[in-house]
C-alpha cells in the first residue's frame, strides 16, 4: 500500500502515523522521517521557503523510488508526502514513513527513500533569507550518501 502525495497542504504527522498503523496488526516496526524548514541554511537567517516541482515527473519519480525500495525490502505500508509552495520556518517539508515486520528493514527503507528523494525527485528550494531570495544549492554529501545503496 503506497501513498505518494505532492501537495500544498500542511503535513500532519498525526494523520500520517494513523494511516500507517490503523488496522495494521502484522508490522511491528514503523520508521518515520520528517524534514523541516530550518533557519540557518548556509549561515544566513531563513524566514521561509518556496518549493517548486515538476508536476507529473515528480510523482513518477517518487513512485519509482518507492517501487525500488519495495524490491529491496519486504515492506508493509509506505507513505511519502512532500509539500510544495510557500512554507515557514518549522513547517514540515517532507514526511516518509514505512511499516515492516522487521525493524532494520524499516529503518533502511526509510533512509533509502530519503536519500534517493533528495538526489532524484525534481523539487527545488527557493529560500527567503535576510539577504534576499536564493535558490538552495545541491550538496555533494547527498550524492555521496547514495553510494551506501549500490
Amino acid at each position: 500500500m503506497d501513498t505518494i502525495e505532492v501537495r500544498t497542504a500542511a503535513i500532519s504527522v498525526t494523520d500520517e502515523f494513523q494511516a500507517l498503523r490503523e488496522g495494521n496488526r502484522s508490522d511491528g516496526a514503523t520508521a518515520m522521517f520528517v524534514g523541516s524548514v530550518r533557519d540557518f541554511n548556509a549561515g544566513a537567517g531563513v524566514d521561509g521557503l518556496t518549493l517548486e516541482h515538476y508536476p507529473g515527473m515528480t510523482e513518477k519519480s517518487l513512485q519509482r523510488i518507492v517501487d525500488s525500495a519495495r524490491a529491496r525490502w519486504d515492506l508493509g505500508r509506505v507513505r511519502v508526502i512532500h509539500r510544495v509552495g510557500a512554507m515557514q520556518v518549522e513547517d514540515s517539508i517532507v514526511f516518509v514513513g514505512v511499516t515492516c515486520a522487521h525493524r532494520q528493514a524499516a529503518f533502511s527503507a526509510c533512509q533509502y527513500l530519503m536519500d534517493r528523494l533528495k538526489t532524484e525527485a525534481p523539487f527545488w528550494k527557493l529560500e527567503s533569507r535576510e539577504t534576499g531570495k536564493a535558490w538552495v544549492a545541491a550538496r555533494d554529501s547527498d550524492r555521496l550518501e547514495l553510494q551506501k545503496w549500490s
Binding site: E52, G56, I93, A121, F123, W124, W135, A137, A138
Partner: protein, 81 residues
C-alpha cells in the same frame, strides 16, 4: 513540435518556463546548443555543467535522442526533501 520546459533557477535566469520548437532533430546536447544559438543570452546558463535534462519526464543524459512530440525539461540539481 517539441515542448521545452525550464525549472527553478534556470527558469528565472532564462525568464522562460516553456518554449515550443518546430522541426528539430538531434540529441539533448544538440538541443541545448540550438537554443543557445537562438538566444545567445541563454548560453551561459543552459550550457552550465550542472544542468540536468529529462525527456518525457524521465532523466536522460546529453546524448539521448529528442523526437517530435517529446517534452524536454532542463533544470538544476534537485534540492527537495
Amino acid at each position: 513540435m517539441i515542448k521545452v520546459l525550464f525549472f527553478a533557477s534556470l527558469r528565472q535566469q532564462l525568464d522562460t518556463a516553456e518554449y515550443q520548437l518546430q522541426n528539430f532533430s538531434g540529441s539533448v546536447q544538440d538541443l541545448r546548443a540550438h537554443l543557445a544559438e537562438l538566444f545567445p543570452s541563454w548560453e551561459v546558463h543552459l550550457q552550465a555543467d550542472n544542468v540536468q535534462a529529462a525527456i518525457n519526464q524521465e532523466m536522460v543524459t546529453g546524448n539521448a535522442a529528442v523526437a517530435d512530440g517529446d517534452e524536454v525539461a532542463f533544470f538544476p540539481p534537485v534540492t527537495g526533501g
